[in-house]
């Protein structure tokens, strides 16, 4: 209600003025000053009381009424515990799901990265343009230097790559996670060592680069947190590094943190390696510069580089994106879609409670009418209903926190590891504020219709409980119910689509058989193996040592391993084809031991596979995948062609004659396209790191630790990872999809339950209202089956309407989940039909219970009802 805001002091001044007038008047009548003043006060009465009344009217009355409403609300809510608990539970489910989902969004998308002024950090990537498709890619050192030196948008820019090295010289080699970065990394991140110093610029150069800054927890673990660690030396891959500093406890870069940071150590030839894309680049924006401006700036520089170096940069562009955004690339739209879906669950819960309130409002009509008749204003009644609704919603919000807490534990446990910061979810202030907001908003939402209706009621009609107003309430309830069913239908069909898509992916063949295979990452220190012969010797020993392990049937080595997240691609030339460097085709490269293809069950299509004779010193040979053969040798003449990839990845050139065509492998995951691939014999390449693939007789998992020990025995300084089953890698590759499917599935299940409860409630209520009528029908001889079908028809009519509406909405809104689907159209008819069938089945159950009860009704009891 509108109320002028008048201060108490203003009121006091008015009364003071009144006394002055009155005193003056009385003095004119002949009284003394003193008498006049006394008389004025007498005529006025109790001044304080009047002021108090003014004060009350402003504030305390409002508070009093609120308190009255709350107490009255509490009485009403405790008087009908059934209504209250169903309403609170339904809301708690809806709000809890929203709270959990929002926690995920908050931790993954919204929470600022834990670097100072993290908003200024921008990720810069090269963009590889081929065949009309642009793919983000790592950057090459010369490009990075040109961007860094020519841009006008960044105050600093650094490049890095992550790697793993072995911590040697302290017993068995330990895995060390390493960030290899240009010297200005810490000034760009605005983070500084707590002990020691940062990198100096000259430490960027090869030869001066053997210094290390330790991460805090590595420092604690290896040096007990003693400051005198600085100045000591650690061995990484058997090479000494002088420790020059330690980073603070809360410093983590990249997001998961690192054990140590070392300078990148470019040699003199670095500026010639414009085609070597292996760096990640981050920049810090100057204040006031937008990401778009920086992107334009870099794009202009890149255009010039393309002109200057058409051979190396001709097909490359550049793209700048806020780092926080780049980190969650395609995770972001998926999470937002899920947030939308969970919002629908909340809407269904609100519709449910709204329905309950409407049913109850009909029962409470007389009470409300009585209050109106006794002088309560419309506003007061509306306020009463709002207060009760808020109490319901806020208790539900509190209860939802418990549900959300459990849900979050499940999410952290089952959630995929490759969603950054997912493990940091928690019920923090931001989340609690969100929950409160959702609670209040839902209270307003579900109280709106009942409150409006009650304020419109005519007192006379109410006391008589006119039929028209109950009919109107019935209509509102039916509309809500149809809406609930429609939304549930949509969610259910959406979840169905994700399940179908996931099931489809599961049945996609990866191109090999991962069953029963154990994988073991091994990398050896370069310092121990200065040439290809030494490396060949190491791998030979590893394979024969493991082969002698009881229970092992075959051992092979490959790098990079399919589904491991690592890959290696390079451009290549074909003998006899004269193609300028920039137009050279590019393909994936794998290095493997002779028996690898057979062990993984990758079929040979043509020619031969590797043999034990394909060793260092023998003729260089290559294998080609079907897709690559088709792409690069469409005439079918791949075998016999000579191909050269140059010397990247190992000591030797990756070149040779194609001797066989083999089956395709889905290296990047079941949902990723097949990449054209070449295989090089591991021993012909001089490779210092690979994954051992072990097949065992009985339970391969039990072979893991003994196998690991055997490998460590060959060279204590070699880094041997933990054994992982290949099937786990396969499962992890679908981790995000499984996660999204599980979440949407859970939301759909919630929606289904809520819709069923809503349906049950509405039908039960209408049966209760029609008790007399049904009783008369039965008494007049209506068959019980007739009563049953009458009630069922009543409910199922609404359900069918809802299903139809839901199908329509699904056809439109399912476009939003198109990005989450593989091999399934968002309007997939079988999925829609199955979802409708499931919902219908549940609806039949929900209607059947009250309908059956109605049909069993004793006509005598029914007639005596009321």
């Amino acid at each position: 209600m509108f109320r002028r805001n008048r201060k108490t002091s203003d009121f006091g001044a008015e009364i003071e003025a009144h006394f002055n007038f009155e005193t003056e008047r009385l003095r004119e009548e002949g009284l003394s000053e003193e008498d006049a003043r006394a008389a004025a006060r007498r005529t006025f009465g109790n001044v304080t009381q009047v002021k108090e009344r003014f004060y009350e009217s402003k504030r305390w009355l409002w508070w009093d009424h609120l308190w009255q409403d709350v107490r009255f609300g509490l009485r009403m809510l405790t008087k009908s515990p059934g209504f209250t608990s169903v309403a609170v539970l339904a809301l708690a489910l809806g709000i809890g799901a929203n709270t959990a989902m929002f926690s995920v969004i908050e931790a993954v998308l919204l929470r600022p990265l834990s670097y100072s002024n993290a908003d200024q950090l921008v990720s810069v990537v090269s963009m590889w343009q081929r065949g009309g498709v642009t793919t983000p890619f790592s950057c090459s050192p010369p490009d990075f230097f040109d961007w860094r030196d020519q841009n006008r948008s960044f105050s600093s820019m650094f490049a890095f790559h992550t790697s793993e090295r072995a911590l040697t010289g302290r017993g068995d080699a330990k895995r060390v996670r390493l960030v290899v970065a240009t010297a200005d990394i810490f000034s760009a991140l605005e983070a500084h060592p707590i002990v020691g110093r940062e990198f100096a610029a000259e430490e960027n150069r090869k030869g001066a680069d053997h210094v290390a800054i330790l991460g805090y927890s590595f420092w604690q673990a290896e040096f007990g947190g003693l400051p005198d660690a600085v100045g000591k030396t650690i061995e990484l891959d058997s090479e000494p590094y002088k420790i020059i500093g330690v980073m603070p406890r809360d410093f983590r870069f990249p997001l998961r943190g690192s054990d140590a940071y070392v300078p990148i150590g470019f040699d003199d030839k670095v500026m010639t390696q414009r085609g070597a894309h292996y760096l990640r680049v981050l920049g810090r924006l100057k204040p006031g510069v937008s990401v778009a401006q920086a992107d334009q700036d870099l794009t202009a520089i890149m255009a010039e580089l393309r002109r200057l170096y058409p051979d190396k940069d001709g097909k490359w562009g550049v793209h700048a994106e806020r780092w926080s955004r780049a980190l969650v690339g395609d995770i972001r739209p998926a999470l937002l879609v899920l947030l939308g879906a969970v919002g629908l669950v909340a809407l269904i819960a609100c519709a449910n409670v709204c329905n309950l309130l409407l049913a109850r409002a009909t029962v409470r009509q007389r009470e409300l009418a009585m209050r109106r008749a006794l002088g309560a204003g419309r506003f007061r009644i509306v306020r009463q209903i709002l207060t009760e609704s808020l109490m319901l919603a806020i208790s539900a919000g509190a209860a939802s926190l418990l549900l959300a807490y459990w849900a979050l534990q499940a999410i952290v446990y089952f959630g995929p590891k490759d969603i950054p910061r997912l493990a940091n979810v928690g019920l923090n202030t931001a989340v609690l504020t969100f929950t409160l907001g959702v609670s209040v908003a839902s209270a307003l939402l579900f109280a709106l219709i009942p409150a409006l209706r009650s304020s419109r009621m005519e007192i006379g009609g109410l006391l008589k409980m006119s039929g028209s107003s109950t009919r109107e309430a019935g209509r509102a309830r039916n509309v809500l119910l149809v809406g609930e069913v429609a939304l549930s239908m949509m969610l259910l069909a959406g979840a169905g689509l994700l399940v179908r898509s996931f099931a489809g992916l599961r049945s996609v063949s990866p191109g090999f058989d991962p069953e029963g295979l154990l994988t073991l990452d091994v990398s050896v220190p370069e310092a121990h193996y200065k040439n290809s012969l030494a490396l060949e010797g190491y791998w030979d020993r590893a394979l024969s040592n493991l082969g002698g392990l009881p229970g092992v049937t075959s051992v092979d080595a490959v790098t990079p391993l399919p589904l491991s997240g690592d890959d290696w691609s390079s451009s290549f030339s074909v003998e006899g084809r004269n193609i300028p460097e920039k137009d050279q085709p590019s393909a994936e490269l794998r290095w493997a031991t002779p028996n690898y293809l057979r062990t993984l069950g990758i079929p040979l299509r043509k020619g031969r596979t590797f043999t034990d004779a394909d060793r260092l010193g023998a003729a260089r040979v290559l294998l080609i995948s079907e897709t690559a053969a088709r792409m690069f040798f469409p005439a079918g003449d791949a075998i016999g062609q000579k191909v050269n990839f140059g010397a990247r990845g190992g000591y030797e050139k990756n070149e040779g004659e194609i001797v066989g065509v083999v089956g395709d492998v889905r290296h990047f995951g079941l949902d990723a396209p097949i990449a054209p691939t070449f295989y090089v014999p591991l021993s012909q390449a001089g490779i210092d790191g690979a994954t051992l693939v072990i097949r065992g007789q009985a339970s391969p998992a039990a072979l893991g630790q003994p196998a690991r020990k055997r490998v460590q025995e060959i060279d204590r300084d070699a880094l041997v990872g933990q054994p992982v089953m290949f099937e786990t890698l396969l499962g992890d590759s679908l981790g995000q999809r499984r996660f999204y499917m599980m979440l949407l599935g859970a939301f759909a299940a919630l929606a289904l339950v809520l819709a069923a409860v809503g349906l049950y409630g509405v039908i039960s209520y209408s049966v209760a209202q029609r008790t007399q009528e049904i009783g008369i029908r039965v008494a007049m001889g209506a068959a019980r089956s007739k009563v049953l079908s009458m009630v069922m028809k009543n409910g199922l009519g609404l359900v069918l309407l809802g299903l139809a509406a839901g199908q329509g909405m699904a056809l439109v809104l399912h476009r939003t989940i198109e990005g989450l689907l593989v091999g399934v159209s968002p309007t997939d008819a079988p999925t829609l039909l199955v979802a409708a069938a499931v919902l219908l089945l549940v609806a039949i159950l929900a209607c059947f219970v009250p309908a059956w009860r109605a049909s069993r009704m004793d006509p005598l009891v029914a007639l005596r009802f009321e």
């Binding site: 002055n20 007038f21 005529t43």
Partner: protein, 115 residues
């Protein structure tokens, strides 16, 4: 003659609002002025408890029947002046009719008893 000497009629519940509205029809007036005007116009028959006046003014203001602003009185004092709004004028018309009907009815009853 001082005002306390005469015994006056106390106002009936609910009539104060009507009298305030009526008084303001002659133009803006401050609180004490309104009280004086009611007393004088009723030829000193009606007793307006000044204390009750201000809550009543407050109430009328909130309902939008009168509006108020601070101004300077004829004898150069600051005072809060009330004036009738359009809604207040309408309300006055309604209340006046109601009151006239009520008094006429009561009058008829009283006369019937006498006769």
């Amino acid at each position: 003659m001082s005002t306390q000497d005469r015994e006056r009629l106390e106002l009936l519940q609910g009539t104060l609002d009507l009298l305030i509205l009526r008084t303001l029809i002659f133009g803006p007036q401050h609180g004490q002025g309104i009280a004086r005007a009611i007393q004088q116009t009723s030829q000193e028959e009606l007793l307006v408890e000044h204390g009750a006046l201000y809550p009543a003014l407050q109430r009328l203001e909130e309902r939008g029947w009168i509006s108020a602003k601070w101004g300077i009185s004829t004898n150069n004092r600051k005072a809060r002046f009330y004036s009738l709004t359009v809604a207040g004028r309408k309300q006055l018309g309604k209340e006046t009719t109601k009151w006239k009907r009520l008094t006429a009815a009561i009058g008829r009853i009283l006369e019937a008893e006498e006769g």
